[in-house]
Symmetry: C2
Subunit: 157 residues, 2 copies
DNA sequence: GCCGCTGAGTATCGAAAGGCAACTCAGCCG
DNA sequence: CGGCTGAGTTGCCTTTCGATACTCAGCGGC
């Protein structure tokens, strides 16, 4: 059965991309993961249009990746900030994969612009690809997607 | 120094997103990694507009992730297909990270729609996050991006 | 008590990107 | 010679994006 026999949109890659696969969502999540929490800070740092930021945050809140939390600065009026929830924090793997690839292929001669570290021990962090037989796969793994229990056949063709 | 002091676009995450961070590029790469190589097959399976597919393939070829190779079916005229190059195959980590997240959070009750396997031994494959001190970080790692040698300060502010 | 400031958005409008359908183009086959 | 097929390109329309301007709520100063 060729790969094209399976519905493209059912795949978890496609579903996840539909949620966060635009130009800005992952950058918003990156900033949230690094302590940038307020609307104007996000807009200023990312350079995203405020309308778009507003929509993206609403979508992320809706999907349960982010929560909107009230706060109050020293005698200022109550405002809201955005914080990662558990599912949002689990996106770290995606962000690290982007980071690692960019470091290998798009970094300038000075080296990587940013290094991810374990917040608890301070050591650099890396993603490792292993298979259940215990092989460690290198950076260019040969692998194949096979249909799982939730697979569906493509509607057309 | 707060995270916002560093230029958002210099980050490898931002650079990689600028290259493949749209609705379709990663799906094209997913299909290429699974043996779908021809323009019409890709267009049909993904449901992407042919114009957009054409642009995306051109960009991927340009960036060196994909090559355009001539082939000839039994006595048909020469045509071209698209194949992953090394840097394109290295995107597997990104695809697997999307897949894993989607399986955890967006899969239906039937389970994951697709399972990634090591092409050599057939065993399922997974991404593991470790730090250089040997800790294995769980699915919700607490980590922080710190400036690396190639970091740059933000232009404004 | 009014004024203006600030953070956090919405409104509006032109520009860019995406999608659909129709057209082109090259060569093989009958 | 005319049609078929794979691989795009062209044109047109719709949706999304981005920039600027406006709103809104409350606090602090005067």
């Amino acid at each position: 059965m060729p790969f094209t026999a399976y519905d493209s949109e059912t795949c978890s890659i496609a579903r996840t991309l539909a949620l966060v696969g635009d130009r800005w969502s992952l950058l918003v999540l990156r900033d949230l993961a690094n302590g940038v929490r307020r609307f104007d800070e996000l807009a200023g740092h990312l350079g995203v249009a405020r309308t778009v930021l507003s929509q993206r945050l609403a979508r992320l809140v809706d999907a349960g990746l982010v929560e909107r939390v009230a706060y109050r600065d020293n005698g200022a009026r109550e405002r809201h900030e955005y914080r990662l929830l558990g599912p949002g924090r689990e996106l770290a793997g995606i962000l690290l994969a982007f980071l690692a690839w960019g470091d290998r292929h798009l970094a300038g001669p000075d080296g990587p612009p940013a290094v991810p570290r374990h917040a608890d021990c301070g050591a650099p962090v890396r993603l490792v690809l292993t298979c259940d037989d215990g092989h460690e796969l290198g950076p260019r793994p040969r692998l194949r997607l096979e249909p799982g229990p939730g697979s569906r056949l493509a509607a057309t063709q």
